[in-house]
Point group: C2
Chain length 214, copies 2
Amino acid sequence: MGRMPKLADHEERRALIVAALLRIAANRGLHAASMRTVAAEAGVSVSTVQYYFGTKERLLFAGLQHQAEVVGQRIEAGLAANAGGGVRNRLYAWLVQLIPVNEQQRAGYTVFAAYHALALTDPALAEQSYTRGSAELEVVLRGLLADAEQAGELSPGRDVGAEAGNLLALATGLADSVMAGMRTPEAAIALLNYQLDQLFVAASSRSAAAARRP
Amino acid sequence: MGRMPKLADHEERRALIVAALLRIAANRGLHAASMRTVAAEAGVSVSTVQYYFGTKERLLFAGLQHQAEVVGQRIEAGLAANAGGGVRNRLYAWLVQLIPVNEQQRAGYTVFAAYHALALTDPALAEQSYTRGSAELEVVLRGLLADAEQAGELSPGRDVGAEAGNLLALATGLADSVMAGMRTPEAAIALLNYQLDQLFVAASSRSAAAARRP
DNA sequence: GCCTTGATGGTACGACTGTACTGTACGATC
DNA sequence: GATCGTACAGTACAGTCGTACCATCAAGGC
């Protein structure tokens, strides 16, 4: 704090400005994020934004990249935090993160949706592989499901690759429906749990089967 | 065609302008749809757009309403066209419509995504119940699944309400992944078919079961 | 034939946009 | 201590935005 040093920390200044951009995008929409509004939100001058990002296009790119990194870090953090639990609980812990239940998650979804819509008509933005996080998550899910299949926890006749893709798509679609006001977050989570119930052999019948053949 | 009549057909003129708006939104993005670009695309003057819609906000509302009506009509058309087939085929026929395979469907998705993102930060737009089509479709799906359950075509232990919601969310999420470039449309359709295979009793085992007990 | 009114074009205005340019204060280097 | 480059702030410019206003022109009612 205090007086700003004359040799600034570029990383920190850029992060400050990007945070202001994402804040505006989440609250007022990405269309409301102009050079001036972002600068005002960050408490700096427009020239400072220009100095660190040059053009607005590069600022937008940085915002998208930051958002993607946040998602990636959340995934890794969830991986570390839930490394110990059962496979089904770990699956649930990750998928439920995609359902927007609190304001932070709603904000993240809003920003992502805005970039997603923008990328549909802006080739330069589409080239930024902002879906890498989702693709990585799908790979993780597939690995988890493979473990569960080895342990005999899955219902018979399941394709782990297809199930991984469908679980991710289901969670995404449920998030859409929640944000569109079609469903409460709780209802979406209940639907997610239902799907996992169908996918996994019920714990009671598993233990019953185990008790039947000792 | 020919000379424009001096007493204009308001419906027709409004439709002409809204079509131009949606064309721009699909091709260049909703942010590129200004009074001037829409007027130019429609081949009319800005004043004409003002005359029929007054303000840009009302023009955007009309565009969203039109898009919702198109979706609703597609659902009804699909209902009429596939009234005869089996339940599973009818389910598939509707859900596969949500996966963008051709340019028209991609355009529709793009427009809808743009409005969806805008509605997340614009309360006035969010109040327009643009999700009514999806909600109606979910009701239809539930009815279909109930029929299938009555006919014994469903796998045991399924909740038709949950399955209807999850199928719709799955199709939506698969559409997202296709538009995000994560998957080809064909791969998404394969995943959709996989899910339906899990939900329905395989036709072979159904006929086998029927043959076993006459 | 006149006059009203519906339908449209043209234009002007104020606000906002991204970006380029200029000025300038200060830490680092010599 | 003079010099140089970094890190800003301020401003100016050309363009676009939505919208209000005025002109026009033809069709219908009288």
